[in-house]
Subunit: 233 residues, 2 copies
Amino acid sequence: MEMDGGAQTPKKERKTSWKKDPASVRANILGVATDEFAAHGLAGANINEIARKTSTSKRMIYYYFGDKEGLYCAVLEGVYASLRNAEDLLDFAGLDPIEALRRLVEATFEAHVTSPHFIRLVMIENIHNAAYLRKSEIVPKLNRSIIEKLADICDRGKAMGLFRSGVDPLELHWLISSFSFYNVSNRATFSTSFGEALYTPVHQALLKARATDMVLAAAVIGHEPASWNTDGT
Amino acid sequence: MEMDGGAQTPKKERKTSWKKDPASVRANILGVATDEFAAHGLAGANINEIARKTSTSKRMIYYYFGDKEGLYCAVLEGVYASLRNAEDLLDFAGLDPIEALRRLVEATFEAHVTSPHFIRLVMIENIHNAAYLRKSEIVPKLNRSIIEKLADICDRGKAMGLFRSGVDPLELHWLISSFSFYNVSNRATFSTSFGEALYTPVHQALLKARATDMVLAAAVIGHEPASWNTDGT
DNA sequence: TCATTTATTAACTCCGGGGTTAATTTGTCA
DNA sequence: TGACAAATTAACCCCGGAGTTAATAAATGA
């Protein structure tokens, strides 16, 4: 039943010609590794599998990233950096504080939905008690900008007498992140326990509106959370 | 440099006497495994290490649970079941709807803080897209009771003209879970990015009060989110 | 043009950890 | 009382996956 007719396992011919292209090789590895770590976690991801999905060899992973943890750290910094770039595109300078806050909540909610890799890697990092994030020099700086944006909105809102005195940017960020993050991170278990009802496009839009409305009601004096007065049907 | 002075590695003497106690052996394994899976995840946990921490041998793990996944599933069902027991102790029947909702939000927030194993295992399960939770026969049923409690409160609130017409038990649960869960699940990365300020006992109490107040403002007609009017200092 | 450094290839090592074998003891019931 | 099932013990297997070795091709530049 030997299908190869007695041929010796053919030693793979060493590639006799190739281009040097370190930047794209590195980027290729990083892209594949991001997928794999996001899908399976640090322990669950498989270096051989990552190598197989790249257009290069396993040795290159160790050449550029040292070891599995080094690769994971590079992946982590990569997703944080790309999310920051997305956030920096937001500009609320021209808007009045109330409208700016509404836009910021909506944008945050939407950004989380469209960044599943980021969400999963943050989940994984929390499982590791942020051990690798702590080692990063750049990540703590990255998150400052979102707080600064919120602080500016809060300052202007209070100065105009529109916002409540107790409104605090960091607390507000905690709150806005919580439902934006949870909505994506816990979708699998939530749906398993309670069904898919909340994850139709229509219902997601409704949740976004209600959450936004609720944040505004908390922050803005006299704001009525109107979206809660009607059922979404 | 032989430190053992030429002694043959002594074959460990087989224990010559022991008691049959299947129930407690099983419980012992399950307890250790819960710690280990919660700490390191499914792939990250180590069967040899789990065995070492039990008062029995590795073989017993396979004897009672089949394989690593079987053990993980048993752990998962265990933490879900014990949380349900905690929830079932809550009784809001005697309270008016507004006070009942306030108590439910506070209790949920507190229950998450005191159930770190549950939180971590749910996080891990979400990383696996709830693959193992889906196989469970009992877990989907467990989560019904919390929705029923909320539905009862909502019905009574609307009947008395206190709650807004759009208030929905499932949406409310999504909202209450989101900040209660996120507060614990993402503590490591949140603290790394923004500092520990929100995780002092005083500030945690404040967050609980503000979140509760905000939920009430969303659900209850004319409720002012008063806690947001003062800063927490 | 050739010495040197950088980038790349294929093949190899090694051990940790999931899972098993086989023997032995404890309890049960006919 | 002894055959049988259930519970437990220690030792073993083995493969997959993290990490390496060694050779060689491509660029660099004096």
